[in-house]
């Protein structure tokens, strides 16, 4: 292997390591674990398989508004989600909304 190729590879290696490792390093493991609970109904990482709304890749502000509304009992058409949302602090809801907003649709 030529020297220039080694240098190029080293640079690439660093770039790849940064690109793929940094989201992992920045991972909010606690939020990921809490979000995994939501997956039972909303699908793994929020990718729903059926009638229950998907959460993956939605805007964080929209998700957080829906969660906070649900916690306040709105809209009245909710069947289950208001009962769940009441169990979480606003900070937890914020971290959950952040997690799901970052998941691929």
């Amino acid at each position: 292997m030529s020297k220039s190729r080694v240098v190029l590879l080293a640079a690439l290696s660093a770039a790849v390591a940064t690109a793929i490792a940094s989201p992992v390093l920045a991972q909010d493991y606690k939020a990921r674990a809490w979000a995994a609970s939501c997956a039972a109904c909303h699908g793994t990482n929020g990718r729903s398989e059926g009638e229950i709304p998907a959460l993956a890749g939605k805007k964080k502000e929209d998700l957080l508004k829906k969660l906070k509304d649900a916690k306040a009992g709105e809209p009245k058409s909710l069947t289950v989600m208001h009962q769940h949302a009441k169990g979480y602090t606003d900070e937890q809801l914020e971290r959950l909304a952040d997690y799901f907003s970052k998941q691929p649709k």
Partner: protein
């Protein structure tokens, strides 16, 4: 320049700091192996644990030991008795766990656990070593408490149908063969048992079938408990209003024995003869957990640390699902098993990769019950870890029940099934 495969492999080798987790999606084998986890039992708990360890940390090798060819869901299996669902619709293969997640499936049974050597022995003769072991063997029936049912012939006649599969189909056939005007009786053991609302949902589903097909028939619920264990108001209302004159509930019906030939339940208060007798026996942790001497709570269930689901008596062995001594307010259910498995998967990865274990686990529970072929009710709860009590507690003010059965919740219930089956098995 273009990278050839060899260069790419070298490149990855050079970047040893790159977490194997970041390579998820590559079909190639992981660049480093952190260790091996063996999971025993491919139900809601075991399948989910296997999947999530691979999803979150592909550097861990996961071997799932399960004797059955497919997963069959207990939740919704009462609909097979009601006639609005087929057992095939509750059956999911383990293919995606293998092809998508890289879980290695071994179709076998564990006969012994050697906790010191960290090895499990299999019925077909092989042995598997592990760094961490996760046991999710479900329940074992305590037939020795019902002498008349403690043999194979009696068990073929008086069914439990409390593990979904052939017994579910066989009970449906018994109901189909029953005369109009016959009696279906179900006996419920004292709590704790798998799926608290399950027996009452079953009676309701059988009522749905009989009301339409054999309207002169009756249902007797013989409950060893002093009251209905879950969704009492919703079930009672359904029996009174949707199925009037069909369902009779008898609390405090302690079972002394069963005469299988005569289809008779011998109760403390006298004998009850039925045309179809369905006895749900008392339960304890699955055999593997008993054999490994993990059933330290009343010699029935396994005590666990609720941060990791590690056994309180054996290091390196985790127990999930219906085999554990559940926390207060935490039902033995498929949904809970799925939730526990994800806390456990996260903790196992944390321990094996040297990061701290999550000290604030939090899970929510939704449990749907079918009232007819389309209408559904639920009970929901939220559970969080209490650091002082060292257990999971229900969060006050959260959770609740459906106001009434609805078709809308029927659609959500199906959505739940599709999501959770995929969450556990794909």
């Amino acid at each position: 320049m273009t990278l050839n495969r060899r260069d790419f492999v070298k490149l990855l080798g050079a970047g040893a700091a790159v977490s194997a987790a970041s390579l998820y999606g590559c079909a190639a084998t992981p660049t480093r192996t952190i260790g091996r986890v063996v999971v025993v039992g491919g139900g809601y708990a075991g399948a989910t644990a296997a999947k999530y360890i691979r999803l979150w940390e592909p550097g861990i090798e996961v071997i799932l030991v399960e004797p059955n060819a497919n997963f069959v869901s207990c939740p919704f299996s009462n609909r097979v008795l009601g006639g609005s669902m087929k057992i095939e619709e509750l059956t999911v293969s383990y293919d995606k766990l293998q092809s998508v997640r890289g879980v290695k499936l071994v179709r076998d049974e564990v006969t012994a656990v050697d906790a010191d050597k960290r090895v499990v022995r299999l019925a077909k003769g092989d042995a598997l070593s592990y760094d961490r072991l996760i046991l999710a063997p479900g329940i074992d029936f305590m037939y020795e408490t019902i002498p008349g049912l403690n043999n194979a012939a009696a068990q073929e006649r008086v069914l439990h149908s409390w593990k979904a599969g052939p017994q579910t189909v066989a009970l449906r056939k018994q109901l189909e063969a029953m005369r109009d005007g016959g009696v279906y009786a179900i006996h419920i053991p004292k709590a704790p048992y798998r799926c608290p609302p399950g027996p009452y949902e079953r009676a309701t589903q059988v009522a749905f079938y009989l009301k339409n097909a054999k309207p002169k028939s009756k249902i007797l619920i013989l409950d060893a408990n002093e009251d209905i264990q879950s969704k009492k108001g919703l079930f009672t209302k359904a029996w009174n209003e949707k199925y009037p004159g069909i369902v009779e509930y008898r609390p405090n019906s302690e079972l002394l024995d069963v005469d299988a030939r005569a289809n008779t339940a011998k109760l403390l208060g006298g004998d009850v003869k039925a045309d179809v007798l369905n006895v749900v026996p008392p339960q304890r942790a699955g055999k593997v957990a008993q054999g490994a001497k993990l059933t330290n709570i009343n010699a029935r269930f396994c005590g666990v640390d609720f941060l990791t689901y590690e056994s309180t008596v054996a290091k390196g062995i985790h127990v999930l699902g219906d085999s554990i001594q559940a926390a207060p307010g935490m039902p033995k259910s498929g949904h809970m098993a799925n939730q526990q498995a994800k806390i456990c998967a996260d903790a196992v990865i944390a321990v094996m990769t040297g990061r701290p274990v999550n000290d604030e686990p939090m899970i929510s529970n939704t449990c749907y019950s079918w009232i007819s072929d389309r209408e559904v009710v639920h009970v929901a709860s939220v559970h969080k870890y209490d650091k002082e009590k060292k257990t999971m507690v229900t969060v006050p003010g959260a959770g609740g029940l459906s106001p009434a059965p609805s078709v809308k919740e029927g659609a959500f219930a199906m959505g739940w099934a599709e999501s959770i089956w995929s969450d556990a098995l794909a």
